[in-house]
Amino acid sequence: MKTWRLVVLHINLNFGLSVLRHHWKTKDKKLLGQAGITAVVLLTAATFGGMYYAFLNMTYNALSALGHGQAVLTMGVVTSSLFVVLAGLALVVSVFYFADDLEFLVSLPLWPHQVLAGKFATVLVNAYLIAAPFAIPTLVLFCIREGMGPSYWLTSALVFLFIPILPLTIASVGVLFIMSVTNIGRHKDALRVVGLSLLLMLALGFNYLFSSAAAGMENIQSILRDSEGLVRIVGRAYPPAVWATRALNPVTLSSGVLYAVLFAVVSTAGFGLMMVAAHYLFYKGLIAGKEVSPGRRLRWDELDFRFSEASPIRAIARREIRILVRTPIFMFNSVAMLVILPLISVFTMFMPGSDTLRALIQSGVARQTIMLGAAGFIAIMGMFAPSPASAISREGKLFWISKMIPVTAADQLKGKLVYSFALTALAIPILYLYSLLVFSWSALEFVAIILLGMAGSAPVIISNLLIDLFRPYLTWDDPQKAIKQNFNVVAGMLAGSAILFVLYKAFEGALEMGLGFWPAWTVAGALAVLLALLMYAYMVKVSDSLYRRIPV
């Protein structure tokens, strides 16, 4: 009963249900704003789901001609499960270990697993939102294309309900373990980021190795001869996806029920295992994580060397970087994820079977497109790595300091810009590694990529900062909400994508007008700089009045 009350409380807090009720009662205009935000988020998810549906439809056409249409179900379950694990890692860490209410909850007469069950409920609801754009199009497509009946709908509802549970429990057990073993010494935060990064690499590496090993082990003909061959290959990294496929597309009714039950029972068992792990590991990681051991005590005379002077803009940029680097959840989300994923993709190019792909991308035809993609990668890094769309939101309850200091809002934002560009530049060593190992760009090509990439990142970063300036989300109670459950980040992604699309179209248009590759490259760069300057001028103009209006 207590656990259930905790679950209800956490869902209420996570979705702000009491706040919504209050806005409804007081007829507050904020309710309209929140409805608008929800509509935009749903629209974005539906657009994404629609694109995935179109992709699946093409895949289904190809596979069903070979008699393997049901493999799209396995693909859908594997993809949604993988995304739940990837996005779930950061979410689990933040909700389980960095929420504001944890100290209060620990003081209540509850078992660790009861507290964790409440926290897990909020993570699970969010996991459904992550899984939905992949799982729902898959289930609907298969139903429409195969003309499935009512029993399919019932089974698919059951499968959807269980899809995120097992991946999320796997992520949770991993996090519980990492957080309980990284409480060593004074650098536990750094150790935690390293531990979580290893966990992420393990999940990706496991998935990659299984699928590539599977492809190498069996030849195409034997896969195609077996009606379930492709299903088994796709599901080898994650067997529950095969059970879900068999439940949804059964040979006989009883075998369908059997696999549905198997899928549900294993997911429930995973949840049970996580509860047991929580009982022993949760508080161990949580309480020890709250203990911060002070370092060596400073002597009075040592202070003379500890004070330094910097310009306000530099000091703000330095503060932002220090906080990002020292807050595990910000560091893992913003930097670690964006460095790890490209690095893994470099190494996958040297795995067995990647020779053809490597030859193709090194050929002259693809070379220019890849250079453009590399510049786009820098610009995308500008959007994600420092997450400028949450630059003000991340200050949260400490925004009072920014409002108090005698520095204009414009100068404070300049500090945030410096910080954003500094982190965007992290893309440069990654691309250099790519150049050394795969693309062999000339010095001129490499400089051109960096120049266009940094120029492209400028309007993206400034537009994202502007979005956060208009409506910062300062009342978050766990840091994950500031960066991932923040509408500004979604809006920033849309704005950034639109800007990059415009730049790409300018490049394409210049090529179509008969300009050569490098002149078109320059046109795109010049347009990026122009857009950035216009946005920057606007940001400086409105910043003070908008800062004043932000309530603290």
Binding site: F307, R319, K397, P406
Partner: protein
């Protein structure tokens, strides 16, 4: 000097009047105590003085600068200590002080000298190299106090400053407030500790439901109440009416 003229602030589209047509003046060299029951409007008033909230009506002038027209000059004149010492937990104490020194343009030599004095006074020297995350509530309160004094502000505004301080630090803070006042500077603070207000303040203002119901020296306040024995009696009587 602080000059508040006909200031009002409401929440929920005017349904809740937090501050209602408030006017008062605090002169240089004066310590002003701001008292009132919970939810009376003390923190809202203080937040408006320091520029964290915008008044719906009226004007606030600090050190001769209007908060709307010259916000940066007002902020440079003020040292503010909020009721809750929330600061950047992931910075060290010294990084936090350096950050504030940079924001208030305090030269390195000056900030080093002042910080060393204040750190010594509040017994924080040894801990200032550690992450603020490792500080107790009282240590954070002391760090915020030191940060607020680093640029030697003309106006010192404090919201419930004694909460969380140990007796020695509370005593030191009272000394600093008195010294500040003797240097011709202004001190404005809210408190629930009536004993401190009675002994420290030149004048006291009492706010209730957003309205200033009494303002004056201790003697003047005594005249307004039947039970004149202590400030506590005066406060209880005036806020009950």
């Amino acid at each position: 000097m602080i000059e508040i003229r006909n200031v009002s602030k409401s929440y929920n589209k005017g349904q809740i009047k937090a501050v209602d047509d408030l006017s008062l003046q605090v002169q240089p060299g004066e310590i002003f105590g701001f008292l009132g029951p919970n939810g009376a409007g003390k923190t809202t008033t203080i937040k408006m003085i320091v520029g964290l909230l915008e008044p719906d009506r009226g004007s606030i002038v600090v050190n001769g600068y209007d908060i709307r027209k010259d916000p940066i000059k007002v902020r440079k004149s003020i040292g503010f200590v909020p009721d809750n010492p929330s600061v950047y937990e992931r910075l060290t104490g010294i990084e936090y002080l350096n950050f504030l020194g940079d924001m208030y343009d305090v030269p390195r030599a000056v900030r080093t000298k002042r910080a060393k004095e204040l750190l010594e006074l509040f017994e924080l020297t040894g801990d200032v190299g550690n992450l603020i995350q490792s500080y107790s509530h009282g240590m954070r309160q002391k760090l915020v106090l030191i940060g607020a004094l680093l640029h030697a502000p003309d106006v010192f505004v404090l919201d419930e400053p004694m909460v969380g301080l140990d007796p020695r630090s509370a005593h030191n803070l009272k000394e600093i407030m008195s010294r500040h006042c003797q240097e011709g500077k202004t001190v404005f603070f809210s408190t629930h500790i009536l004993d401190v207000a009675e002994r420290l303040c030149d004048r006291i203002g009492i706010i209730r439901r957003g309205k200033l119901i009494a303002c004056g020296t201790m003697d003047q306040l005594r005249h307004m109440a039947n039970n004149k024995e202590t400030l506590e009696n005066v406060f209880l009587e005036l806020t009950e009416q």
